[in-house]
Each structure stands twice: as C-alpha cells, then as structure tokens.
Point group: C2
Chain length 159, copies 2
C-alpha cells in the first residue's frame, strides 16, 4: 500500500513534468508538397484576429489525410496551419508574408499530456524560432479540448 | 505551285477548324491530392469579379510543378483553378460551394491554336458540364496571351 502511495505521488509529480518537457515538435519538412485541406481568412473583429488574423491554409501529411477520413489520427500524423498576411489590393485579397507556421504532430507517447498531439508555431519563415515551446497546454491545447470527440482537430477536409 | 497553293488554302481552312475542334480537355481526376500553388480572393469591384468572384486555389500536377520551377511547362502539365464561393461569417471569409473548376492542360499538339494549352471550365461539382467548350480562344486564351513569355501562365508557386 505504501509502495502504491509512493508510486501515485511520483506519478503526480512526474506527469506535469512530462507535459512541460515534451520533446520539441519537429519542423514539418516538405509540407508544401502535402495535400491542401482547406483555407479561411480571419478578419479584424474576429475573436481570434490577434492570434490568427490573415489567410490560413491547412496541409496534411499522408497519415493525417487518413485521419481526416477516419476521424482518428494515427501517430505520425502532422497537420500544418500556414498563416499568411492577407493583403488588400485592387478589390482582391492576396497572400502576403508568412506570419506563423502552426504544427500539430501526433505522437501519443511523447505528447500524452496534450491529447497525444504536440503543438508548435514557427515564427514567419523560420524553422527554428518557436512561438509555443513549453506553453502548448495554455497556448493551444486548452482550445483544442473542445474538439476531443474529433481527436482534438477543428478542421475537416474540403472535397 | 498549284499544289502548294491548294495545300496552303487547305491549311488556311483547316487550321481554324483544328483550333475550334480541339479535343475536349479531360476532367482532372484526383487534383485535390496535387500540390497547392497559391490562393486569392476576388471581391466585388474587381474587373474579373463576374467571372472569377470568390476564393480560388491553384493546384498543379507533377509535370506542372516542374513547369513552375523551370518556367516552361512540358506536355502533360495540368493546372487547376478551383473557384469557390467566399462566404462572410463572423468576421471571417469561409469557403463555400464550388462555382467552377478551371483547367489548363498542356498538349502542344492537340492545343496548338491556343499556345499548346487546352482550356476548360467544369461547372460547379460537375465532371461533364463544360463552361468553355469550343470557346477557349475568346473565353480564355486571349487573356493568357499577355503571359506568352511565361508559357501563358499567370500564377507563380508561393513557397
């Protein structure tokens, strides 16, 4: 019994450390060759404008494409949220500079504390400057818990 | 000489028929798995709003991806112009119903009269209802001639 209590205490201490110290999410090499899932433009006045204002495109690697079909994303699934400035020119909205490259990377072991997903944001065109780091829980996962029934994913594939 | 004149006359008669009777451009099977080139939203007030109002995404097959890199598109290159309604909702622009699926299909022999490109538009989600048909020269190519130096292609790949 004492052993079990000790074990339980250890787990309680260790679990948050696991979440905070989750391994860094890798930069999604070659994602511009992946399948385009859908797009959306978030404009001034939208609740998420400060964080996500502009046009974003979602891309899925092979495993994530299967996840969109089945509703469950296998380990190795990667979804990219490619956020660009939306520039108004001549009554059109054109893609501008990259603001941030958001990444969801499924690894149910590494990212156990955040629904099996690692979350990261790479600033602008950088492959190393990280906007999320150890703040995945508050910066990303808290919102994504609303989608628990859909494996924490908001988007759907547009046919 | 008489033979040559006859031949020349025949060519003059036949050439326009070749252009008008170019083989139909095939529906681009599987294009949603192709690489996403770029996107743009055309809004009311834009000169092309009546024809192209909404959000469009461009997709390229393997040969066309190479064409974007080299500036010359080999036979077999296909570029898709996927035009969707742009719906305003909660200070965001969201993708709506498909309006038309535009296609450029490179075959320098079949589509000699229009820069080596076959042009077509499939209405909405239809794979058979054609919006361009034999009117490729006036409906598409006349505008694209402005891009002769770029193999008649307006778009560039957004990295």
């Amino acid at each position: 019994m004492r052993k079990m209590l000790l074990l339980a205490t250890s787990l309680c201490v260790i679990t948050p450390l696991f979440a905070a110290d989750a391994p860094p999410v890798p930069y999604p090499q070659g994602y511009r060759q992946w399948v385009h899932v859908k797009s959306m433009t978030i404009q001034p006045g939208h609740a998420l404008y400060d964080a996500f204002g502009g046009i974003h495109h979602l891309y899925a690697n092979r495993q994530a494409q299967q996840g969109y079909r089945s509703g469950r994303f296998a380990d190795g699934s990667v979804i990219v949220f490619d956020l660009l400035e939306s520039r108004i020119a001549d009554n059109s909205l054109q893609e501008g500079a990259r603001k941030v490259l958001g990444v969801m990377h499924k690894d149910s072991r590494k990212y156990k504390g955040t629904g099996g997903w690692g979350f990261e944001g790479f600033k602008g065109d950088s492959r190393t400057e990280r906007a999320v780091g150890h703040n995945a829980t508050t910066a990303c996962f808290q919102c994504h818990t609303a989608q628990q029934g859909r494996d924490y994913v908001f988007s759907s594939f547009r046919p």
